[in-house]
């Protein structure tokens, strides 16, 4: 996923560049609102009009979200250089259920993870003596709670929503892993996986990284992630701006809002399972739904379901898990997400 930095590209004075970048970042963030107001004034529009409000929303939110995304992704890129999957695995090996699940879910947030590595990681963890339930906590948290989702939620809906998503996502991953561990389903692993006796980790010479290389890794991560998702962000904010300016609030409220029928939440979760998208792709939808008056709990549950559970992933996992274990995995995670939605809708 992240491109490993190499000393040939390392900058000479890494901290100077970081300081400069931080100063530019803070200055840009501080001038977001004046900038948006300025654009509106320049166009001779007023925020009282539909068009003015929509344009204001767009020119304010776009740079804001891109700035936040850049900042968070950079920090994550640097963190990734400390937490390799191999290190995470050795931290988790031999842990018991409980603390092990908490650690696994938390490490899942910061360990570099590419969904195509899910199965090799899964087997690698098991063969090193990480318990099945703990492995699942990692596997659930890693894709669901990622820096893109958090940065976008933070940028568009405020830090409270981002923090809630982080906390509840961790809770789902921990509890689901605990339950799967308690069920003792080890015999539902495919036979060849169980026969894979503690395969030793490959010993390739990992270069020792200095801070210059770590910071370069952060920059590379920004180039990769922001370079990939900025279109989605733009699209999402454009849709959001249109809704913000033009669409009446109660359009979706009737079927996804607070007073929606009871089946609205389960339907959202079930609908999310066969859908497969990354955080960047689903956030525009989330924003649109929220803008039309859908309840936050229902929307977040839908988002978690789309990101955490997907048919392609199940099909890949089928290579290592027998059907009962896959069914248990999907069922438990879906139930957990449902619980999150219910709590959210009740509290807010």
């Amino acid at each position: 996923m992240s491109e490993l930095a190499d000393d040939s590209t390392a900058r000479r004075a890494p901290w100077g560049w970081v300081g400069l970048g931080l100063a530019v970042w803070v200055a840009a963030y501080a001038s977001l609102l004046p900038f948006a107001d300025g654009v509106i004034a320049l166009l001779g529009l007023s925020r009282q009009t539909h068009l003015g409000e929509a344009i204001h929303f767009f020119v304010y939110d776009t740079p804001k979200v891109l700035l936040l995304l850049t900042g968070v992704v950079f920090v994550m890129g640097v963190i990734h250089t400390f937490v390799t999957p191999e290190r995470t695995r050795s931290l988790l090996a031999g842990r018991r259920l409980g603390l092990g699940n908490v650690m696994a879910a938390s490490l899942g947030v910061v360990t570099p993870f590419c969904s195509c590595s899910a199965v090799p990681l899964f087997i690698g963890f098991l063969s090193a003596g990480v318990p099945l339930g703990v492995t699942f906590s990692f596997l659930i948290a890693a894709p669901m709670i990622n820096e893109i989702a958090l940065a976008l939620l933070f940028g568009l809906f405020g830090w409270q929503v981002a923090a809630l998503y982080l906390g509840l996502g961790l809770a789902v991953a921990i509890v689901a892993g605990l339950i799967i561990g308690r069920l003792g389903m080890e015999h539902h692993l495919e036979d060849w996986v169980r026969q894979m006796q503690s395969s030793q980790s490959a010993h390739y010479e990992a270069a020792r990284l200095g801070w210059a290389e770590r910071i370069d890794a952060g920059v590379a991560h920004v180039k990769e992630i922001v370079g990939r998702v900025w279109r989605w962000v733009l699209l999402g904010i454009a849709v959001g701006a249109l809704i913000h300016g033009y669409v009446p609030q109660d359009l979706l409220a009737a079927i996804m809002g607070k007073d929606a029928p009871w089946w609205s939440l389960p339907a959202a979760v079930i609908l999310g399972v066969p859908m497969y998208s990354n955080a960047a792709g689903i956030i525009p939808v989330v924003e649109a739904l929220l803008g039309k008056g859908a309840a936050l709990g229902t929307v977040l549950a839908f988002m978690m379901s789309v990101i955490a559970l997907s048919l392609p992933e199940m099909i890949i996992l089928r290579k290592v898990l027998k059907l009962p274990l896959i069914a248990a995995f999907a069922g438990i995670v879906a139930t957990g997400i449902l619980g999150v939605g219910i709590v959210f809708n009740a509290v807010l």
Binding site: S2, D6, C114, C116, S117, I123, Q200
Partner: protein, 77 residues
């Protein structure tokens, strides 16, 4: 002639790694035999947990992401 295997289940990062290695080898004028290993049991057999991984003449030299160009150049130096 170097025998190079790219370990990976076939996602975009694995393709990129494959391309990068081929490109750098050609630029350096090194003759290589490039093979993609997509079978999970074989990948696991190399002890590689995070893909893409790169194996040169039976030895794992890289795992867990697209390698930096500088690193690839080092393999053919």
């Amino acid at each position: 002639m170097k025998h190079i295997k790219i370990l990976g289940t076939g996602c975009a990062n694995c393709q990129n790694t494959c391309q990068l290695v081929a490109e750098v080898a050609q630029a350096k004028g090194v003759e290589i035999e490039l093979e993609k290993v997509e079978d999970l049991q074989q990948i696991m057999g190399y002890g590689v947990m995070s893909t893409p991984g790169v194996v040169i003449d039976g030895k794992v030299v890289h795992a867990g992401g697209v390698p930096a160009r500088g690193k690839v150049e080092g393999w053919f130096a």
